[in-house]
Amino acid sequence: MTKKKTAAPKKRSKPSSHRHTPGQGHCVDLLRQLSAFIDDELPSDICREIRKHLGACPNCEVFIASLRQTVTLCRHRPVPPLKSSDRVSMRRAILDAAKAQ
């Protein structure tokens, strides 16, 4: 990314935290907001700012793609269905435990 003096909405990161490429505080600022960006929760001016940064910073573009992939994988993580026999045996155990008290 180029070091433009854009009006970054929240410039909170410390210079020491600009780690992935020297002098790129935007990248760390962006990191804070990526989930909100992915979830479409940010105001349009901030989204525009982020998209502008992504166009100029390949590392951040790759990073955000990998975070999107991660969220997609989480959303589709398979889970085995409950067996009918377990549904019945758990109900029995719950009612037995409840009545035992």
Binding site: S35, Q69, P81, A98
Partner: protein, 206 residues
């Protein structure tokens, strides 16, 4: 996979009679089992958590007035039971996750080395190695972060609903969710997953 819980009416004066419980159990056991399995990562613990949840629900049914959805009420009971039951999991880091820890420091940490190109998420997850990597990453998350991730990204609840279940404001939910996602991303990026042409083979290739 994102199946929001349906709104169930239990608005009648709640009773402790078996009929009320049976309906609650019948309508929600699959939902709560799925949630429990996603939290615990394996079947036996998930079943323990389901039983604990419904036993607590049985006891509390007479006080449940239907102000919240039954599913939200059960999610809340299950979440509290999970915190109580599994307070100390071996290998589970108990520390807070700091955003600074997720800033990539080398070129290879930016991307995921996983085979997803041209595949639907379901197809990609037929790769056993990828599934295991994802399960392990989620399992390594400290519980309060895992819970936010499961409720929001897997159960498909809103941040507001997650907040009401976990006793947090929306901002805190979003913060935990963000850190949880970054943690899982970092774990996956640290793994090179073999690109299988045959998704079903799923072996630990070279």
């Amino acid at each position: 996979m994102r199946t929001p819980a349906k709104k169930t009416s239990l608005q009648r004066p709640a009773t402790q009679e078996p009929d009320g419980f049976d309906k609650l159990y019948r309508d929600h056991v699959d939902l709560i089992y799925r949630y429990a399995h996603r939290l615990c990562g394996e079947t036996e613990s998930a079943k323990d958590l389901v039983q604990e949840t419904f036993l607590n629900a049985y006891r509390g049914l007479k006080d449940f007035r239907g102000e919240a959805r039954a599913s939200t009420w059960l999610y809340t009971i299950a979440s509290r039971a999970c915190i109580r039951m599994r307070r100390k999991r071996k290998g589970e880091p108990q520390h807070e996750l700091s955003l600074e820890d997720f800033v990539p420091t080398s070129e290879g940490e930016f991307r995921l080395q996983i085979p997803m190109e041209g595949l639907s998420p379901e197809e990609a997850l037929q790769n056993k190695e990828l599934r295991q990597a994802l399960d392990q990453a989620i399992d390594k998350l400290p519980k309060k972060y895992r819970m936010a991730l499961v409720l929001r990204d897997m159960e498909g609840l809103s941040a507001k609903e997650v907040g009401s279940i976990m006793g947090l404001n929306e901002r805190a939910v979003k913060s935990r969710l963000h850190r949880a996602r970054l943690f899982v991303r970092r774990e996956l990026s640290a793994r090179g997953i073999t690109n299988h042409d045959d998704h079903k083979s799923g072996g630990l290739g070279s």
